[in-house]
């Protein structure tokens, strides 16, 4: 029996940017539910609104209008600190450009979210090591980002996103800077994590990457164009959705 309440829920989301005297409607009345344990790919050409949606789901930005709930909590009712805590406790981010701190080694980068955590986490050093081992970098903990390949850097970033045991992993073009072989490795890793129960949302414009997801949502001009399930690719999450 799956959790009846969606872990991510959006109602009539609108996001309007002002560029000079021009209004850009990045999101135009988007309503969307994502259940716990889903692996969702959000697709669309650039400017279709997929990144704007990602920023809203990631609690990094606020919608112009509409309401959204993450893990049952309405984001509009939360202040800046509560949003920061939500990002720390419930969400894990993976970025296209990895966004690792260049002067810190892999271990320190992975440990960073744990150090900002306000709940009791036990031995954070052990947790950071565990996460690096989970992504296959147990032997490169003391390497700095510059000493790692692109794929390895993205693995460090994934380990960092996992360190706080998030319920949702948000990845914005996670393979955009990687070659096709590494892309497969990273997507396999994401499927692994998804199988362990983490809800994964990947933003991509590549059909190849999206094919790893069980559900694909296509955006166009700030609206959902198409929302399709691909049961043949469903794995651990298949029976539960």
């Amino acid at each position: 029996m799956a959790d009846a309440r969606p872990i991510i829920s959006c109602r009539d989301l609108t996001k309007i940017y002002r560029m000079g005297d021009q209004e850009v409607r990045a999101l135009d009345g988007v309503s969307l539910d994502i259940q716990t344990g889903e692996f969702v790919a959000i697709m669309g050409p650039s400017g279709s609104g997929k990144s704007s949606l990602m920023n809203l789901i990631g609690a990094l930005d606020r919608p112009t209008s509409g309401e959204m709930w993450i893990n049952g909590r309405a984001l509009s009712e939360m202040n800046r600190d509560e949003l920061a805590d939500l990002r720390n406790e419930t969400l894990g981010f993976v970025f296209q450009q990895f966004n690792l701190l260049p002067r810190q080694d892999a271990f320190q980068n992975v440990r960073l979210p744990l150090r900002y955590a306000r709940r009791e986490l036990g031995d954070i050093d052990a947790r950071a090591r565990e996460c690096l081992e989970m992504v296959g970098l147990g032997s490169r903990m003391d390497h700095r980002p510059m000493q790692l390949s692109g794929g390895q850097q993205q693995r460090v970033a994934i380990a960092r996103a996992l360190s706080n045991r998030p319920r949702i992993l948000l990845a914005d073009e996670p393979t955009g800077a990687l070659d096709s072989k590494t892309t497969i490795e990273i997507m396999a890793l994401m499927q692994d994590l998804n199988r362990q129960g983490i809800t994964v949302v990947v933003i991509t414009h590549e059909a190849e990457v999206a094919s790893y997801a069980a559900r694909q949502i296509h955006f166009l001009d700030g609206k959902i164009e198409r929302d399709t399930a691909h049961p043949e690719l469903k794995r651990a999450s298949g029976g539960r959705a």
Binding site: N88, F93, R115, Y116
Partner: protein, 412 residues
């Protein structure tokens, strides 16, 4: 707030660009070094003045003869009519006077077995030592009986002892003062320069003997005043206002000398401690002014720190965005940059203190001036540096903390 992560991030940033950090610190280094030197000079001067005051005694008044005009020519301080022992008694009877000592002084030629030395011969009663708060270093002072009986004994000051007895061992020796043989019974502890009986003199270059012996056998009497003394030192009771005592002593003396109202005093009541304090006020104003100048350079240094911190915040906008994305609150970011500014300034403060210390040592060597480096100075210098970091780091840190997460993350 999460201090651990903020502290380590701040310190890491500090050492990631050491040259820039050092240049940024330069203003703080100079500021703290100069604050330290100025305060040390000020404290040193203050300590020296306090020592002088305590050697004179804060509640001691000195009654001195006024100046005398002879044929329209001013004869200089102390040339006026001396006091009599009856004046000493009258002043001593005033209710607020703890003790009054009549002192006779004059130049005398002292001859020991080894040396010949012209020095200041003072005659006093046994209370001389109490009123001057002057203790013996070796031997003893003379007793009341010896003073009244006019015993041929003297107590010698440090300078006189050194010159008369280059080998040491003054106590028990016989010397001749203006051909009068006397026995040295004690050596006084050092009082140093410029004390009560005449500013700028070496107070230790003196012999002190019983008043009647000195007057009758060494310095000789006065033509107009029998049983005269050169000056009267008055120890005012603790808690009594010294200025008021000064006033009342003056009134008594005018009465005794029958000076009509409207006529000027022909004596002076001097409060040496007060004079020293007035002189000290000038020094203090000076060092306050210099410390203020040093504070200005700290402020200029602070503006430099603020400038670099603003640059640093801009350069690290993406890093700030990332930290926010993974759960840093605004307060965490604020703390990180604030600590970075404080660490920058405190480190600069430490370097400045080291330089300042060298400056203090060097200045003390060159000028022979007393310099004091107290814990208060160190705390003030470091505290000033850290405060500069706190004050000038706040604006850049707040700017960092208020960044919009998504805009910071997308910044390039």
């Amino acid at each position: 707030m999460k201090y651990g992560v903020a502290t380590s991030s701040a310190i890491e940033a500090l050492f990631s660009n050491p040259m820039r950090s050092l240049l940024t610190m330069l203003g703080i280094i100079i500021g703290v070094a100069s604050v330290m030197v100025m305060m040390s000079i000020g404290e040193g001067a203050k300590a020296a003045i306090e020592k002088q005051i305590s050697s004179v005694g804060a509640n001691v008044l000195t009654l001195q003869p006024g100046t005398m005009n002879r044929g329209g020519r001013n004869q200089g301080g102390g040339s006026g009519r001396p006091f009599a022992e009856s004046d000493v008694a009258a002043v001593g009877d005033l209710p607020f006077v703890e003790a009054a000592a009549g002192i006779l002084s004059g130049q005398a030629n002292a001859v020991s077995e080894k040396a010949n030395w012209v020095t200041n011969m003072q005659g006093g009663t046994a209370s001389f030592f109490e009123v001057n708060n002057w203790k013996v270093d070796q031997g003893r002072t003379f007793t009341e009986q010896e003073a009244l009986g006019g015993a041929a004994v003297v107590v010698v000051g440090k300078t006189a002892a050194k010159n008369l007895f280059p080998d040491g061992n003054a106590v028990g020796q016989r010397i001749r003062v203006n051909s009068v043989p006397v026995e040295v019974i004690g050596v006084l502890e050092s009082k140093g320069q410029s004390g009560g009986g005449g500013m700028g003199q070496d107070r230790d270059d003196t012999l002190v003997g019983p008043l009647s012996m000195v007057r009758n056998r060494i310095t000789g009497g006065n033509r107009w005043v029998s049983r005269h003394v050169s000056r009267i030192q008055i120890l005012v009771q603790d808690g009594y206002d010294v200025a008021e005592a000064q006033e009342e002593v003056s009134t008594v003396m005018r009465d005794r000398r029958r000076i009509d109202s409207g006529q000027p005093d022909n004596f002076m009541v001097v409060n040496f401690a007060d004079m020293i304090k007035q002189r000290a006020a000038v020094t203090e104003t000076m060092s306050t002014l210099l410390a203020f100048t040093a504070a200005v350079s700290l402020i200029v240094g602070g503006v430099g720190v603020m400038n670099i911190m603003l640059v640093s915040v801009t350069e690290r906008t993406r890093e700030i965005g990332l930290r926010m994305a993974i759960g840093a609150r605004g307060g965490d970011i604020l703390l990180q940059f604030l600590l970075e500014a404080i660490a920058l300034c405190t480190l600069g403060g430490l370097i400045g203190m080291a330089i300042g210390w060298l400056g203090v040592l060097g200045y003390a060597q060159l000028s022979q001036a007393p310099m004091v480096v107290s814990p208060i100075i160190i705390a003030t210098a470091l505290g000033a540096a850290a405060s500069v970091g706190l004050i000038f780091g706040f604006f850049p840190a707040r700017r960092a903390a208020q960044l919009d997460p998504i805009q910071a993350l997308r910044y390039d």
